[in-house]
Symmetry: C2
Subunit: 310 residues, 2 copies
């Protein structure tokens, strides 16, 4: 059973997921190549990916599908209620559901090759999974994220994203919620208004805005917000969201950039302005970054220029 | 001039260092190879690395030397005193000194190939640099760190470490200081006593202990602490520190592991138990980790077994 553990004294959480465990020798660094003899995510190989949780069909075939991750970081076993504090040792079962979303049946296409209609279907599926998973006992947050490319932590090339529904709220989301509470109004509503007129504004449509954040942690980091104060994906205008996301992805394709994106929505009884953070992974965090201060070699103003280019 | 920027509402700091800036096209991901036509860190090429700050000699030649980084993340220009809060925009000049430490004249040797005597000389140099830099106006912390290997953020193979002395205290160090204050005694003194008898204990000598931390963020993460409550490097027994560090490094060599290490010492008027964090970088942080919950596929207990093996 995977285990949630807290740092001795810091508010920092780790899931020890030995389901994925390898022996020390398996970690040895050899030449890195992504070798795939067979693609488990391709049509025809559905038997390798069991426990399908949802699918969207087109012409009688699946077009987007989600299923349980074969090597889950969290599991719906154990007890999601018990968190043990034993002086410096705080732990719990890492309870929950870990799913994979295959974004297209086409092995040769990446997310940035799809259409706005495709992206809209994907957001619809995310929405469906959030709605279904968030009401399950023990689920405190449904973290949706994508890893694209080796340097962004992905080992499978077929375009996919992931869902981890678990008995914690993601720390960065929680930090944003707590920081928002210190302001009278939603701070992100005010930030959006300011960034709208800044050199960091990249794209905008009726319902959404995308800008490179003032203290970007990565070159080309970019955030997408609904312009109205909306808390969840289900309230979003998915046409406009898909449109702005594709504009960003098409620019990232020019760089062939590995990237992560993460949905930050507001959990029940909380009030966080919904947004998506997109982190291109063109540079590595090193020792200084893991001491807590990030060095970014590209200013967000310069990155925004790149996004605005044709 | 590099710029320190704070996240809009979170306590998260970034240095925008455009001295290292590249054009967007330079970020494009091609096949990654570390190409070095000439090694600037080798004996005979000292003219390429100017502004030497310290050196240790052997047989009339330099054996370890430090100099100013050609592409500094911080600079001793601007004003280190002024921090501007402009509603959501908090910024300052990223003031300070960024140095490189070449750890050996031998291009073919990595740190894990050196002797305990060599490591002792290196720690002596670190100590000298901390003492000299920490008393300079505007320097609030001297962060010493090492990046080894591409996946740990290093682009130069000749064995080296780095020093950034700057007008902030590294966030993780500050967090440890603040968390320590919440305890009556030094929590790390108590943690050391507990880990001494745990399955996570790896190495121990008269003055130092090394263990894999309970909530390890990386496979094979390991921390080194003086067993007595010591706040700074200059109080450490460097024979014993070098001995335990080499034991760790020799095991990491077996994995050919990229790694970072960072020194956490106590700044003036604060009280933090000195330690070194060593982070092997055999797995990548991805979208879920950047949401704030880390997945580690190796338990620290298993990692400790590896460290204890011959």
């Amino acid at each position: 059973m995977p285990e949630l553990r807290k740092d001795y004294i810091l508010d920092s959480w780790v899931i020890i997921a030995t389901e994925r465990a390898k022996r020390p020798s398996d970690f040895k660094v050899e030449k890195q190549e992504i070798k795939e003899k067979i693609c488990y995510f391709c049509p025809g190989n559905e038997k390798y990916t069991t426990n399908e949780t949802y699918k969207i069909e087109k012409d009688g075939k699946w077009y987007i599908r989600s299923f349980q991750n074969k090597f889950p970081a969290v599991k719906n076993q154990g007890d999601f209620n018990i968190k043990t504090h034993n002086e410096f040792y705080t732990f719990a079962d890492a309870y929950g559901y870990h799913e994979v979303v295959v974004e297209t049946p086409d092995h040769k296409k990446q997310l940035w090759d799809l259409t706005t209609e495709d992206l809209k279907l994907l957001f619809n599926l995310y929405n469906q999974r959030i709605n279904s998973l968030s009401i399950l006992p023990g689920v405190n947050y449904v973290q949706i994220f994508k890893n694209h490319g080796h340097d962004a932590g992905s080992s499978i090339t077929h375009s996919h994203s992931q869902i981890i529904a678990y008995n914690e709220v993601s720390k960065r989301v929680q930090d944003e919620i707590e920081a928002s509470k210190k302001h009278n109004n939603c701070p992100y509503c005010d930030i959006i208004k300011k960034e709208k007129d800044s050199f960091r504004r990249c794209f905008e449509n009726n319902n959404f805005i995308a800008f490179t954040p003032y203290a970007s942690r990565f070159p080309f980091e970019i955030w997408v917000f609904p312009k109205q104060h909306i808390r969840t994906l289900k309230e979003c205008n998915l046409d406009d969201l898909s449109l702005i996301m594709l504009q960003i992805l098409k620019q990232l394709k020019k760089l062939n950039a590995p990237y992560n994106f993460m949905l930050h929505y507001s959990p029940m009884n909380e009030n966080l302005h919904f947004h998506i953070e997109i982190l291109p992974r063109l540079s590595s965090w090193a020792g200084f970054e893991f001491s807590g201060t990030v060095i970014n070699s590209m200013s967000p103003e310069e990155a925004a220029k790149f996004y605005r280019e044709d």
